[in-house]
C-alpha cells in the first residue's frame, strides 16, 4: 500500500484542525484543534518514514511530541491565567488591546 492514503488522511485532519482554530470560540477547543494539527503532521512524518525506509521521520515525530507536551503545559496555564482575570475562556473575551 502506497503512503498516499496516509498523506490524504493527514491533510484532512490538518484541515479540520485549521477550521477548528478558526470557528471555535472556546480557547480550550481551539487549543485542542492545534493539537490535532500537530498530530496530523506527525502522521505524515511516520508515513514518510515507512515509505522512504528511514527512521528519521519517527525521530522527528518523537521530538514534536516533546515540544507539544511543553507547549500544552504553558498554553493551558496561560488559559487559566486569562480565565482568572476575565472569568471566561472565550477567545472573544480577551479584547483589552482592541481599539
Amino acid at each position: 500500500m502506497s503512503p498516499d492514503n496516509y498523506l490524504y488522511l493527514a491533510a484532512i485532519l490538518f484541515t479540520i484542525g485549521t477550521i477548528g482554530v478558526m470557528i471555535r470560540r472556546n480557547a480550550l477547543v481551539a487549543f485542542m484543534s492545534v493539537e490535532l494539527m500537530l498530530n496530523a503532521a506527525n502522521l505524515a512524518m511516520v508515513a514518510f518514514a515507512l515509505a522512504r525506509g528511514g527512521l528519521d521521520g519517527q525521530v522527528a515525530t518523537f521530538f514534536v511530541m516533546v515540544v507539544a507536551a511543553a507547549e500544552v503545559v504553558v498554553g493551558l496555564s496561560i488559559i487559566i491565567t486569562i480565565y482568572r482575570t476575565r472569568r471566561s475562556t472565550s477567545v472573544d473575551a480577551a479584547n483589552l488591546l482592541k481599539l
Binding site: L9, L28, V29, F31, M32, V46, M65, T81
Partner: protein, 268 residues
C-alpha cells in the same frame, strides 16, 4: 493480477473514517468535554495507525504522552474553568464561519493538489532494513536519538524545564494584601467586642438538638430560640438550612404541652 489486501490496508480503512469522524466532533460538538473526548478518541486511533506503520515506540508514546498526559491535562483544565462555560454562538466578525470553511477547503485543495501531487506515488520501501540495523525499532530509534540527534535531545530537556518553570510562574499569583496572622485576628475580634459588642468567643455548634445533628441545622439555644450564627453563611445563602421558625415552633409546642399538663395536674 489479484490485488493483495494487507493487514495494514484493512487497519487503515477501519481507523481512518473513525479518525475523521472524531476530528469532526471537535468542530461540531458544543460541549467542550465532548470535544475533548472525541479528541482522545482520535489520538488512540492514531496510535493504532502508528502500530500499522511499523512505529511501535511511537504507538506507546502516543498513548502515554498524548492520550494519557496531554488530554487528561486538557480535561483537568476543563474541570477547573467549569465544564458548562457556554460556548457563545454570536459571531463577532460577520460571515467568519463561512469564510473559515472556505479557507479550510482552499487549504485542503492546496495541500492535496499542490504538495501531495508532487510527493505522492512513490513506492513504499518499508522499515525492515532500518529496524534491523540495530536489532529492533526501539533500538534503532535510540541509536538515532542518542547518536545523530543527541544535541536536539539535550535541547528538549532545556525546553521541558523552561516549560515547567513557566507554568509554575504563570500559575502563581501574588497576594494583594499580607495574610493576617493569628495575632491580627485576635486583635480584630477584641476590637469588634469593644466597639460593637460582638461576642469574641467561638460561635455555637450547629445542630445539637434531639432530632437532627447535621451542619445545616441551626443550634437551639437554652431559651428555645435558634441561633443563626451556628450555621455556615454559605449554607444560609444557598438556602439549604433547616427552617429556624419551624424548629423553634416544635420547642414552643413541647413547652406548651408541658405547661398544659402541669396546669391540668394543678387543677386536679
Amino acid at each position: 493480477m489479484i490485488p493483495l489486501v494487507t493487514g495494514q490496508e484493512v487497519t487503515f480503512w477501519i481507523v481512518a473514517p473513525l479518525m475523521v469522524l472524531g476530528a469532526l466532533g471537535l468542530l461540531f460538538l458544543r460541549k467542550a468535554v465532548y470535544a475533548a473526548l472525541s479528541m482522545a478518541f482520535v489520538m488512540v486511533n492514531l496510535a493504532v495507525l502508528y502500530a500499522s506503520l511499523n512505529a511501535m515506540f511511537l504507538t506507546f508514546v502516543q498513548i502515554i504522552v498524548y492520550t494519557g498526559a496531554i488530554m487528561m491535562l486538557f480535561l483537568f483544565v476543563l474541570m477547573l474553568v467549569g465544564v458548562d462555560t457556554p460556548d457563545s454562538v454570536v459571531e463577532t466578525l460577520k460571515g467568519q464561519k463561512v469564510a473559515a470553511w472556505l479557507a479550510g477547503a482552499g487549504m485542503l485543495g492546496l495541500i492535496v493538489f499542490g504538495i501531495g501531487g508532487s510527493l505522492a506515488g512513490g513506492p513504499q520501501v518499508g522499515l525492515d532494513e532500518a529496524n534491523a540495523a540495530h536489532g529492533g525499532n526501539v533500538e534503532s530509534l535510540a541509536a538515532l536519538i542518542f547518536g545523530r540527534h543527541v544535541f536536539v535531545f539535550e535541547l528538549t530537556s532545556a525546553l521541558l524545564i523552561t516549560a515547567a518553570v513557566g507554568a509554575m510562574v504563570l500559575g502563581q499569583h501574588a497576594r494583594v494584601r499580607p495574610k493576617p496572622t493569628q495575632r491580627d485576628l485576635a486583635e480584630k475580634r477584641m476590637r469588634e467586642y469593644a466597639e460593637d459588642g460582638v461576642h469574641p468567643g467561638t460561635l455555637p455548634n450547629s445542630g445539637v438538638i434531639a432530632r437532627h445533628n447535621g451542619i445545616a441545622v441551626p443550634a437551639l439555644l437554652p431559651d428555645g430560640t435558634v441561633s443563626e450564627a451556628s450555621v455556615s453563611q454559605a449554607l444560609a445563602m444557598r438556602g439549604v438550612i433547616l427552617d429556624s421558625p419551624a424548629l423553634s415552633r416544635t420547642t414552643a409546642e413541647a413547652f406548651e404541652a408541658i405547661e398544659g399538663a402541669r396546669a391540668e395536674e394543678d387543677e386536679s
